[in-house]
């Protein structure tokens, strides 16, 4: 995946290099600007078995800052924020690949370097008893629970970086 481009970033940014589970890496540019999650909306996307986005609804487009064309065909980790620990996603993948539903709080990275906070439900899609892809539904999180999750993630990341 392409590195994030400074011309799309709004405000002062920091630079990180993220390495994903498939061994690829990408330079991401991050600001501290939050886009508040709108009331009453759901962000919905589907992916194939490899986590490549196959469907994105309008709320996903609006909140991520990417166009639908930019999202479809990209790995879902295009939204990965450097504040999220790898272990959280590893656990998510283990859960959904086992055919179960995963729920958790996630900080997502926008195209403009800002972020948005969600409560996510990710579930496998079955067809004739086989997993054919995954659906992710994100909704507005409770502020208190989100902050508790972010504190936990910060600890997990410190451990990951120290390891």
């Amino acid at each position: 995946m392409e590195d994030m481009k400074p011309e799309y970033i709004v405000g002062e940014y920091r630079e990180y290099t993220l390495t994903y589970y498939d061994g690829t890496s990408r330079k991401v540019l991050v600001t501290d600007i939050e886009t508040p999650y709108p009331d009453g909306k759901l962000i919905v996307s589907t992916t194939d078995l490899q986590g490549v986005i196959t469907h994105a609804n309008q709320a996903f487009v609006d909140m991520s800052g990417y166009s639908r064309e930019e999202l479809i065909g990209q790995p879902h980790y295009i939204l990965r924020h450097p504040d999220m620990p790898k272990a959280a996603f590893q656990q998510m993948w283990e859960t959904i690949q086992a055919g179960k539903t995963w729920r958790g709080y996630v900080k997502n990275l926008r195209k403009d370097g800002g972020y948005y906070l969600v409560y996510a439900t990710v579930m496998p899609n079955f067809r004739d008893g086989k997993i054919v892809g995954y659906t992710s539904v994100r909704r507005k999180p409770s502020r208190r629970k989100m902050e508790a999750a972010l504190a936990e993630y910060a600890k997990m990341r410190a451990q990951e970086e120290g390891a």
Binding site: D39, L42, T46, N57, T101, R127, S142, R144
Partner: protein
């Protein structure tokens, strides 16, 4: 053989006659013998579904998910441009302006409409309010929910957006919307059961063509539908996943 059709009990009362007219049209157009059974509530309708009595149904998204997953129903079509959305409403003079101002212990009035209830509870999550933090009062209809609010017998109400908009302007002036859903991917749909699988495509074609004949258009007007649009297997699966995620 006579097939049984039914309609999700969340329909507005003024549409009862329109569904009987629809059934007359359907029988003529398809050559099938169809008996329309209007169940008074969700529990008797669910019992009939469990006993495999129902062959055709205009179902809300919650029940459509169950019918496809558990009962082998196929979604044929949905009313064009109509999506199921929920609103959370309070009295105009209530001391809160949005969901995050809400505190546990409130009295919630809701109908038994399962999709609207699910959406309503989802919209209360940011305030960390769930069923354990509410006293839920069940009523039969949305006008009854509005009455409870106006009389001060409840603090909040869940409405189907369409039902809220159908309240009189006098009633709405005394209420306020705290939050409304903007999901767009949940909808009522017309489904057929396993005994009609071999006729599913023919029935879908009839529904889609309905707006092209004067008689069909009249029937649609009575139902308040502009026409039907097809529901693909992917769309149905997508809606089912959404409902599952919200449960």
């Amino acid at each position: 053989m006579t097939y049984q059709m039914t309609v999700s009990p969340d329909f507005p009362p003024q549409q009862v006659a329109a569904w009987y007219i629809f059934n007359t049209w359907l029988q003529k157009a398809s050559g099938l013998s169809v008996h329309l059974e209007m169940y008074p509530d969700f529990s008797t309708q669910r019992a009939a579904i469990q006993e495999d009595k129902v062959d055709l149904i205009y179902a809300n998204p919650y029940d459509a998910a169950m019918l496809v997953r558990e009962k082998g129903f196929v979604a044929l079509a949905r009313p064009r441009g109509k999506a199921d959305e929920a609103v959370i409403v309070a009295r105009g003079d209530a001391p809160f302006a949005n969901v995050e101002d809400l505190q546990p212990g409130l009295r919630l009035v809701a109908t038994v409409d399962p999709a609207i209830y699910l959406l309503g509870m989802m919209m209360l999550e940011p305030a960390e309010i769930d069923e354990d933090h509410l006293r839920v009062i069940r009523v039969e209809s949305y006008p009854a929910a509005a009455k409870r609010l106006l009389r001060g017998e409840a603090d909040l109400a869940f409405f189907a957006k369409e039902a809220y908009e159908n309240l009189s302007s006098l009633t709405r002036e005394q209420l306020k919307v705290l939050v409304d859903s903007q999901i767009g991917d949940l909808f009522h749909a017309f489904l057929v059961g396993p005994r009609l699988h071999d006729r599913a495509e023919a029935l879908r074609t009839l529904l889609l063509d309905m707006e092209n004949t004067p008689k069909g258009r009249d029937v649609l007007d009575n139902l308040g539908f502009g026409g039907w649009e097809p529901v693909s297997l992917e769309e149905a699966e997508f809606m089912i996943n959404l409902i599952e995620a919200l449960k």
